[in-house]
Amino acid sequence: MSTKKYAVAIRDVLQQEMQRDERVFVMGEDIAEQGGIFGCTRGLMEEFGKERVRNTPISEAGFIGAGVGASLTGMRPVIELMYMDFTYVAMDQILNQAAKIRYMYGGKATLPLVIRGQQGIGRGNAGTHSQSVEAFFTHIPGLKVAMPATPADAAGLLRTAIRDNNPIMFFEHKALYAVSGEVPDDPDFSIPFGKAAIMREGADVTVIATSLMVSRALEAAEKLSGEGIDVEVIDPRTILPMDMDTFVGSVKKTGRALVVHEAHRTMGIGAEIAAELTEKAFVYLDAPVARLGAKACTLPFSLVLENAVVPGVDDIVEGVRKICYR
């Protein structure tokens, strides 16, 4: 085990996978000399050169499309998007091409491709640079979607993503890059997709939280334990595939569930989880499945307003109390 920051955990896996497999290469904006504006590719150009650590023009549809073409022809590209909000300018290549090609070609094409980058609040980047956009990519069959909440998960899930033969959307969080944690040193350490992590066991309420919301849910759980409410916190880790079995198992025990994500509540993945829990665990539920997510407005610039839009620890505490009728 080594203690490392989330960003370093990502960097180290990129380095190890590039050492292990020469088909793996990285490309994106300002990732070579600069090492990425969040440092996730720092030092890689020095080790692997500018061909395999490739700076791109500000041309997201162009270089994501090039990633599709490279992956179709034997390479394993890992593309860094500076902000995952920028997926919007390359949606055709992601949703119409990467996601669909294998199926549309009758299973006769393979696309090992990772599109990774950060999203979310925390740096005052306002409406086009602070969003949580993961739900878009869960709606179109063909992609897998990961969103690690800890340095170890970032490492383990990224290794799985790079070795997977499908197109993967990998959502990091800008506010987590500086968070430190224990990461296994094993260069094969990986975490399977579709396997949730129970971050805290509890008997009374299940809180399912993603990305930055995991730490907030854990903090809320601590507060609530003082009120005699024993909260179980689950991190799905990948939202496609989604480990619904673990959620159902937990709800059978607790009878109550709250889903918390930073993305907008409206039509977010919380709605899907709530619907699935209602279908699969209806008789075990003692309260409706509740959801917390960003309010239905553009992410505002002001820190005060940003905090008012995205669920905070107190919102989670309040949300749990509500489904416990307290």
Partner: protein, 319 residues
Amino acid sequence: MDNKRLEWIYKTMLTIRNFEDKALSLFESNQLRGSVHLCTGQEAVAATVCSHLRDEDYITSTHRGHGHCIAKGAEPDLAMAELMGKSTGYCLGRGGSMHIADVTKGNLGANAIVAAGLPIASGAALSAKLRGTDQIAVAFFGDGAANEGAFHEALNLAAVWKLPIIFVCENNQFGISTHVDVSTSVKDIAVRAKAYDIPGEVVDGNDVFDIDKAVKKAVARAKAGKGPSLIECKTYRWYGHWTGDPQVYRSKEDVEIWKQKCPIKRLEEYLREHKILTEKEMEKMHSDASSQIDAAAEFALSSPDPDPATVLENVYFEN
């Protein structure tokens, strides 16, 4: 050009012409459905360009892609089966006319999104460069694609990275009903190459020799590591945008004028004049192509539909 390649181009053009005629008649007799975009009249581009490619070289194609697909080595029976959505088709009936691909033959796919193939072909060229092979990529696209962002992004990317790729524009003058004169800021799309500091050339897209000259140069440039070229082939589609297009946007006279410029007829004149093929040999090649396509249609018609129980297969690669 040596006679062997010329014969191959001729034969390929005949195969494409027959394929398109058959697709049209099957469509008109309700035996084939969906969006079917015919490239009749444009055969010289696909055949001539692909005569310079090996199996390991790559192409991306368009919604009007049957010709590219056949010229890159597709079996007409599997292609026709795909047009009919049959389980024996290239894509097992999942892709249809607009998505025929055969990655094993370097055909990275027809693409129903205008200009989407250009970045993908650039990626294939990047892949060849990273792997250190001498493979090249060709992106076929229409005049309409030249107004998409993906066209400009791909040209810049390929130029700045000196990728082994040729951008081949088939300017058939219409994006559905909209003429290039009202959609496009330049008379010749090839001049847009200047913006990316790469060679751009206009050729007669119905003249095998004119296309050939430009492609030869572009292939040499790509293989020498000097980067991309843009070739604009001026041509014309004989039929509507799709089967069933009322074609209110052009006159029958215009269509007739272009039919007189038939690329197959023009090549036949040359073959005759230079005594490369006799009349009899050409007739035989016509009837061979026709029977090959009849057999392809027969194969497609008699093939089974896909089994609905398999509809969820191949969404993902099962690791």
